[in-house]
Subunit: 430 residues, 2 copies
């Protein structure tokens, strides 16, 4: 384990990317501190986590340099905010897809100079990073691809477009045949935009390889999540969250290999009965809205309260990898249709009706051997917040302990959350 | 003018409608008081307003009885929340369309027992009316037809369906050809649902008449709005708002006649120079989110602060009537397509991009001879709230005084709003 962990700086590179270098210089030390507190304070972490720790260490330097170099070679760099944007197509065009969801309070004041205060902190954080030029990922992308999955994002992309070219993919609000037809057309438009950037068409062979690459990535994550379901847990929820967050920043092939290495270690640990949480530790599952890097707030509170998190039903969690794309598409049209079918299985609360998600949460609860569900809702996220009413009812019916929390990125509610979460854990233990 | 105005009661009818009669009995006296304060305190109101005053007086009694009687005859009664739901089709089936948007604080505690607190008050109010059985309109409808224009509504319909059969129309989020194709299919589905209720198909002849009826209604409202633009104003903003609210509750043909009668009176008043606001009164336009009956809060504050409102760019305002349906459709398919084209012109902020709305607001500002715009946003309405950023910028560019306010139905912010609105009026007068 890296004993002198440090998030590295790259002021020259940042200057080239037209960042507000002076302000941003405060970020790496702050992230070093937070990471040390949340992650490095853990005991008996898997050795293979060192790769993911290094990714955090290099997140504003080495990884940005890699992306910058790729871009200099003419490879497209696309920023996205949502697991509905089909990264297979970017990858097929030899491009780089980076997640731009904001997970930090740092950029929120920049956003609130322009946006309403009472919208989702993830959207504000993302917008503020660009408005303040305080995120190297934003500065290195050629363009961003937004989508229409919620009111706040949909309307913020209109404003973001004034700072960075922003395309928008329409994600329908239902999942019937007519919605699929519209969706496939959106996927085709997406492909055209990528091709226009590279100046050449994506071939069937390229897309086929890319689909297989991303399927392999998702399967590795399924494997990892399945291993972490072992009771007792061979890996903490914090470490799992970190791996799932890094998935949005890393080179897919490299990431897949490292996830499989971690899986191999966990398999050995399970055989050797080398666990991170002793038998009898309260096992909780988290459902709900995504936790973008470095949003570790709730995981940190839960696990420091003595429980272990054994599943994330989230976009930064199972929604990202529970489904793969069928590889039997015989031509480009069929391949894009099968790709779309896979994306249509993602059960974001933006859809109505969305009862499949309720069933999926219960299913993941059973599979993970959790003893309770903490439903996490980003503040002002209306769709997950209202869907939680149905989820609570379903959990009550199944006799599953359920706690709904709504939170932003500020530290203000930490004490209150801690009290509620501790009480929830005690209630389960009784 | 009715000097002994009273909102009438109908406890026997309410009992038949399975209402919570005891609780609801508090509503008519409260509405009597509010109406007297907001409307009857005005001087020199047009005589023809007495019809609309009577509509308020009968809103929980006579009008409900009319709807109840129609329903007993087998005519479909459909509740809606949005100007995107095509009432022409309901009317063609000899049905009754009633607006169910909630405009009252009264039902919000009922909603907040189930829904999150931090969503739109209109959605909470609407849901609470049904959950508490404290609105006769909800109790008299056969079913409701929701839509997907915002996150809060879209997800609330899933819960509302547990109380009253709730169909949902998918309104797309963009306005391209592929969106239109989906939209036309939604309109056709809507027609099927209405036909299933009546047990017979809507004919081309019936739809044609209905389109003409609704076009006539919209044209009457255009005429009225055009007359009220006269400087000085022949009618107050409060009275105009009331007429526009009643539009969602009344029989179309009767309403159209009464609006035209009011227009004739205003024409005479203009000739006779009999105005409600003296020359030099500050003229303001309101843009933004709808004000459902009895939400008179902001209009009351503005006009009691000495200004007169000369236009509402709102769903309860111009968005409801600025466009009519082309009547040259040769067959059912063409008629439904032309109907859809008209509905697609409504420029709700749920669409992206939605720059047509910005242009429309500026156009209405010019046409109404307003001197400033107060952009009204229901609390937590993300789409209008974020769109206000663009609208403010456009107004600054045009040199138009602009004030954005966000408010709910509680009386708590009245003092603060009053201060801000008075300051805005003073700034214009300087």
């Amino acid at each position: 384990m890296n004993e002198q962990f440090q998030v590295k700086t790259a002021p020259e590179l940042w200057t080239k990317l037209d960042m507000d270098v002076e302000r941003f210089s405060n970020v790496p030390p702050a992230l070093t501190g937070a990471f040390t507190d949340v992650f490095l304070s853990q005991e008996n972490r898997p050795q293979e986590m060192s790769y993911f720790d290094d990714m955090v260490s290099n997140i504003f330097s080495g990884r940005i340099q890699e992306i910058y170099d790729a871009q200099q070679e003419g490879r497209p760099v696309v920023g996205t905010f949502c697991v509905y944007v089909p990264e297979e197509i970017i990858h097929a065009a030899d491009g780089i897809c980076v997640g731009l969801c904001g997970g930090s309070q740092f950029s929120i004041p920049d956003a609130e100079k322009i946006l309403p205060r009472n919208i989702c902190p993830m959207v504000k954080s993302a917008f503020g990073f660009k408005a303040g030029r305080i995120c190297p990922f934003y500065q290195v992308v050629d363009f961003v691809y937004g989508e229409t999955t919620c009111d706040a994002k949909k309307k913020t992309w209109e404003l973001l477009d004034e700072y960075v070219p922003t395309h928008v993919m329409e994600i329908p609000q239902m999942k019937r045949e007519r919605d699929k037809r519209l969706w496939v057309e959106e996927v085709k438009d997406f492909k055209v935009v990528i091709e226009e950037k590279t100046g050449k068409e994506v071939t069937e062979a390229e897309l086929k390889i890319s689909i297989e690459t991303m399927n392999a990535k998702r399967k590795a994550m399924q494997r990892l999540n399945s291993l972490r379901h072992h009771n007792p847990s061979p890996i903490s929820g914090r470490d799992m969250l970190l791996v799932q967050q890094i998935a949005f920043y890393d080179i897919p092939e490299r990431f897949t290999k490292k996830v499989n290495d971690l899986c191999a270690e966990l398999e050995t640990r399970i055989i050797k009965e080398n666990f991170v949480a002793p038998k009898g530790t309260t096992r909780l599952m988290v459902s709900g809205t995504p936790m973008a890097l470095p949003n570790w707030k709730v995981h940190n509170i839960i696990e420091k309260s003595g429980a272990v998190i054994v599943n994330e039903e989230s976009c930064i969690g199972t929604r990202y990898y529970k489904d793969t794309i069928a590889t039997d598409g015989a031509n480009m049209d069929q391949m894009l249709e099968k790709l779309t079918e896979r994306y249509m299985k993602i059960d974001c609360s933006c859809f109505t009706p969305n009862d499949d998600r309720i069933d999926q949460v219960i299913k993941e609860f059973r599979e993970s051997g959790a003893q309770g569900i903490i439903d996490y809702c980003l503040q002002f996220c209306h769709t997950y917040n209202i869907e939680a009413v149905k989820l609570r009812k379903a959990c009550e019916k199944e006799g599953i302990p359920f706690l709904a929390i709504e939170s932003d990125y500020s530290p203000e509610d930490v004490g209150q959350l801690q009290t509620r979460i501790e009480a929830f854990i005690e209630q389960i233990e009784d």
